[in-house]
Symmetry: C2
């Protein structure tokens, strides 16, 4: 019989922030595959002339919301998504935060797909990636998110705003020109409710905000005056990374210009480290914010963070079925590697 490899024992962990269980199982990293290995990340095969996000091709895009600076020589643009998941032209539904309203037809609930779906073009130049930008330029992108969130949250029927970035085809990206997206929803999505429940439980037990307390030495990767980069205690994915404000802050749009540059610096650093250590992987990042409307007591334990997931492994039926993830890399190991890495 074949002998299984000897490694650290598996362990289940539940993160008080995400409120989710993860299985840590280093042995899994060693399993063989008899499928031919995937070809490396597809290079983008687009020239500047045919990419709608490139400067000069603005007419190929859906309508612009704003640009920075507001002249033909823009550095970033926020535009409508031409193939939006939700429509800004529908009637505004009034969905209660409780789940019992709007019961149409008895079996299951239906809500009209009102919402916003925008694209943030992060640079005018096709070959430039987010991590190539200066910290202050990344700060400008973050401030564009903030500005757009402030506009969208004027709509009473918007309950949650999801900012995210797909980089590389296996991270879901269909466009290679550096961009991120903003989707504004008429409901509070399940991950957000579960996260608030987890943070509330921690707060009720300890009287403290779970993310203000997160600064464990073992999990720390880098820090600046306003932010820390960590490997989260119950990371769902190998080398998953969180950046979170060191000050208590419920909503991303509390970010000011100075903090945005500080965050830009830390984001650039960790993206460079990730590219170096993990061979330029496709990745996603998501801003985990609080719902637009929160109560005073929710404010005490709501704390936003930015999550980065390099796409290193796929998922299978176990994760789809159970909602539990299997992570072969313990977060303290990932943190140590990324903390000690020098970026030239």
């Amino acid at each position: 019989m074949a002998t299984p490899p000897q490694t650290r024992n598996p362990e289940l962990r539940k993160d008080p922030v995400t409120n989710r269980w993860v299985i840590f199982s280093p042995a899994r990293a060693k399993r063989p595959s008899d499928f031919k290995s995937k070809s490396p990340e597809n290079p983008n095969n687009n020239s500047s002339s045919s990419c709608p996000f490139c400067i000069g091709n603005e007419h190929q895009c859906a309508p612009e919301i704003f640009r920075v600076p507001p002249d033909p020589n823009w550095k970033l643009r926020v535009i409508e998504n031409l193939y939006p998941a939700l429509s800004r032209k529908l009637e505004h539904p009034n969905v209660q935060s409780g789940d019992s309203s709007n019961d149409l037809g008895g079996w299951g609930r239906v809500v009209p797909g009102f919402g916003f779906h925008d694209v943030v073009i992060e640079t005018p130049v096709h070959s430039v990636q987010l991590s190539d930008l200066e910290p202050s330029e990344i700060g400008d992108v973050l401030i564009a998110y903030k500005r757009r969130i402030e506009q969208i949250k004027q709509f009473d029927s918007i309950k949650y705003i999801q900012v995210f970035k797909n980089h590389g085809a296996s991270a879901g990206a269909s466009m290679s020109h550096s961009h991120s997206q903003i989707i504004a929803l008429p409901i509070v999505p399940p991950n957000v409710s579960a996260r608030l429940d987890g943070m509330k439980e921690y707060f009720n037990q300890t009287g403290k905000c779970s993310l203000c307390e997160v600064q464990s030495k073992d999990l720390l990767i880098n820090e600046t005056s306003h932010f820390i980069t960590i490997a989260p205690f119950a990371a769902s994915f190998p080398f998953e990374i969180w950046i979170t404000p060191r000050y208590h802050s419920s909503h991303f749009d509390e970010l000011d210009k100075e903090k945005a540059v500080d965050l830009g610096r830390l984001l650039k650093l960790i993206l460079k480290k990730m590219a170096l250590q993990l061979n330029n992987p496709p990745f996603n990042f998501m801003i985990h914010d609080s719902p637009v409307q929160v109560t005073d007591s929710e404010l005490l334990y709501s704390h936003w963070f930015l999550q980065i997931i390099p796409q290193l492994t796929g998922v299978g039926g176990f994760e789809l079925g159970s909602g539990c993830y299997i992570n072969p890399v313990f977060p303290d190991d990932a943190a140590k590697i990324l903390r000690e890495l020098n970026v030239p």
Copy 2:
């Protein structure tokens, strides 16, 4: 400016069974991509001689649990996974179903990774797929799941048993020889709790089991005396399919031999239809069961089903962040196509 395509309006739906929101957005199906298209599914490049799951190579495998029939000329085998996510040799944790116990260290919870992780080799022959088997042979595979579940649930510390299948590399499979897996967990995973909450809410409102009530004509694909195949009301994925017993049944292991053959027939039919309509896609299936221990009142609304997800689209940062899915195909459209399809 480019004109967006005209299609059915987007809509959000919440399924009472999964308790999750899904965005239906046909417009999304039309968006372009400037990444080179993915190469077709990697063929498996394994000959029978090097595959540990092939008959004659039993010595290359982790220990066997049982085989059917119990002689050298087996038709299926249940074996230990050589790279298990959980270990059957660790101390048995006693995790309470409530979430407040076992709080180690204050921040976050840790549970030793005790559990079972088995592989079900569905056929001795490398080139045979599950859908190639006769209904009664698929029934034997289902009865093997049942038998193994009955063995595992003797362990008090096992709270949930996840049966699943990965078919094809982009569905996560690392081995091409037809197989499925069983992972037994010392916790009740989040999707299962959310599902029970959803079914309970429906039961409290209507006095009925949500899955006993599911038989809408629009969503029906096929039926036999004991089972129906449907496109679920709030499918997270295009062409997602559920097969569920028409009789009320909380636990999969209530299946008897006759019903197993009936289910085998329906499973074979829908896998054939899926292959025909969707060009032989990679897929996952998952048995959504009830936790091992349930209360008498939970029994009233707990109803197992088998979920099949063809892997047609990837996910991106929006889904990772929010837990909401964007599905470009309405389930009534998918159901109609699959219902009307003739399998030669």
